[in-house]
């Protein structure tokens, strides 16, 4: 059977930012299939130029309110690498804890508020208050736990203020960490409840597989989030300093955001890429959940990024428990509540690389001798996924083209949502070249 389908590019809902799917099938032939990112560039890299090393991370934090701590830490790493600033073991643990809290809230927000409605056949999370009240309360509690974890460590759940180059201006109260520890240890029932619900609904995830390249960080001692080396499922380990050769950003006509490619036409970053590259280092409770869903690396179905996020929720809870126990056991090094680490600025270039909710994030800055930024480059995870979304769509559409237009559109929207894109983050910069005009 051959028929025609026309999807006209309404904005995809339940994603952060503005992106559209444009699809045209005429008499069974795929003529147009585009993942269009239509947001305006935001010029953060230009805004950084001329800024002091002490304020760069406050500027880049504002790239995103969902993953502001992620941008802050990547920014601090870049600055510290450029100036050779050491960070203590205590402060590295605290940064990890802040990052885990943020990733926890982001994953739960995506799973519970944005993806779950697809699986229960609702347009938004709001009707779940009537159909799945217990599970929705669980989602709200876990989301809040992630927010509170970040707030206790950094002073705020969004746009952290205590994180500074070289350390923290203020340390958390041990009593607050003890209270968080109790809540974390009591959260396993909540995770089990979410897993139960997702297990029932997993059949609703479309059966679609497309093998691609999976890129993440990797670390010899832990499931990499805050520190590590780049790892490609095709090419193996790659030094962070060579991140530009990994992302190979390029511009397409139908998008205001850059696309990326490495060994193949596109690659994937995010929870599923991390799972595929590092699953052997997951906490036992996370592995239990992966086993329950039959998740065995490598997984080539992008819709299972949702399940990988749930697996990571369990891992993040377990790792947060371990970190807080270690911090409390060792006790905090004394410092004032207005501590500013002493740093003599030096000229140089530094790169930061961390795993954030949606995948690997790179920040790179050049500094002059006064400690002012002279050039900046930020490569955001969603940018790195745009090409993979596009190629998934091109592969998927011919296999579902006989379905009605509404079902095709819904299946493609679910695909986009599975990547949990943060489109506002990704529209960071475009090189515009004017052709055929003297300027």
């Amino acid at each position: 059977m051959s028929h025609s389908v026309d999807v006209e590019g309404d904005l995809v809902t339940r994603v952060e930012g503005h992106g559209s799917i444009v699809l045209n099938v005429t008499d069974g032939e795929l003529e147009t299939c585009e993942w269009q990112v239509v947001e305006s560039p935001r010029y953060f890299e230009s805004m950084l130029v001329g800024r002091s090393f002490r304020e760069a991370h406050h500027v880049t934090s504002r790239i995103c309110a969902i993953c502001s701590v992620s941008h802050t830490i990547a920014s601090l790493q870049a600055t510290e690498a450029a100036m050779g600033v050491a960070v203590s073991e205590q402060d590295r643990r605290l940064r990890k804890l802040a990052l885990y809290g943020e990733t926890l809230q982001s994953h739960v927000l995506h799973l519970g508020y944005l993806a779950l409605p697809d699986l229960v056949g609702e347009k938004s999370v709001l009707p779940l208050a009537d159909t799945h009240p217990d599970e929705l309360e669980t989602v709200i509690d876990l989301h809040r736990l992630g927010n509170d974890l970040t707030e206790v460590v950094t002073g705020r759940s969004v746009h952290a203020q205590r994180l500074l180059p070289g350390g923290f201006s203020q340390l958390p109260d041990e009593s607050e960490l003890e209270e968080l520890l109790d809540r974390l240890l009591n959260s396993w029932d909540a995770v089990a409840e979410l897993a139960d619900l997702l297990a029932v609904l997993a059949d609703e995830l479309p059966e679609f597989e497309r093998e691609t390249e999976y890129i993440s960080l990797t670390h010899p001692e832990e499931y990499a989030f805050a520190e590590g080396t780049i790892y490609s499922s095709d090419a193996g380990e790659i030094p962070v300093s060579e991140y530009r050769d990994v992302a190979n950003e390029y511009v397409v006509e139908h998008s205001t955001a850059k696309f990326a490619r490495h060994e193949r036409d596109s690659y994937m970053v995010g929870a599923l890429a991390r799972f595929n590259n590092n699953s052997e280092q997951l906490a036992p409770r996370a592995t239990e959940i992966a086993d329950r869903f039959g998740l065995d690396a490598p997984v080539h179905n992008p819709y299972f990024n949702n399940v990988a996020q749930l697996v990571e929720v369990a891992h993040l809870l377990a790792e947060s428990v371990r970190l807080i126990e270690a911090l409390l056991a060792d006790g905090f090094e004394a410092q004032s509540d207005y501590h500013v680490p002493e740093i003599e600025p030096t000229a140089g270039r530094g790169t930061g690389a961390i795993e954030v909710p949606r995948g690997v994030l790179f920040h790179e800055y050049d500094y002059d001798e006064a400690g002012k930024v002279t050039a900046a480059n930020c490569v955001i995870p969603t940018n790195q996924n745009h090409g993979n979304i596009q190629h998934d769509m091109e592969t998927l559409v011919p296999t579902i083209v006989d379905r009605d237009a509404e079902e095709i559109e819904h299946t493609l929207e679910m695909l986009v949502r599975a990547y949990d894109p943060c489109i506002s983050c990704s529209t960071h910069y475009l090189d515009v070249e004017f052709v055929g005009e003297e300027r």
């Binding site: 927000l109 508020y113 709001l126 208050a129 009240p133 709200i140």
Partner: protein, 150 residues
Amino acid sequence: MTAELAVVALGNPYRRDDGVGPALVDRLRDRELPSVDCLDLGDAGFDLVHVVVDYEAIVIVDAVDFGGDPGEVVVFDPADADGTRDRRASHGTDAFELLAMAGRLKGTSPTVRVVGIQPAETGFGEGLSPPVADRIPGAIDALERVLSGV
């Protein structure tokens, strides 16, 4: 959380009068009312659910386009605002639907009032428009009257 009553500002101060909620709550905070928590949620929609669960009563302060004069204040119960569905989500998330959703969970049903201020300009830019800025003192008085009544 230190009180049973929260004043919640919604709005974006970089969209001119859309920031009237945060501006008012900033001034209220300066008065150091002992039994009121002043919260600025900006446009962070889902966090509103957490506030609903935490407090006995909530007063939301936000720009509301109800067709009044710039800076004019309207006070209402969001449960009575069903007829304005297409006009009430300038922040991307429908705060009233979130309130209704939260109210159906955990058996929480705090008293909620909205203190709405008619905006004049909501384009990009900082600072309130002159007609709205001129009526801030009256809006603060109205807000304090609502706080004493919930």
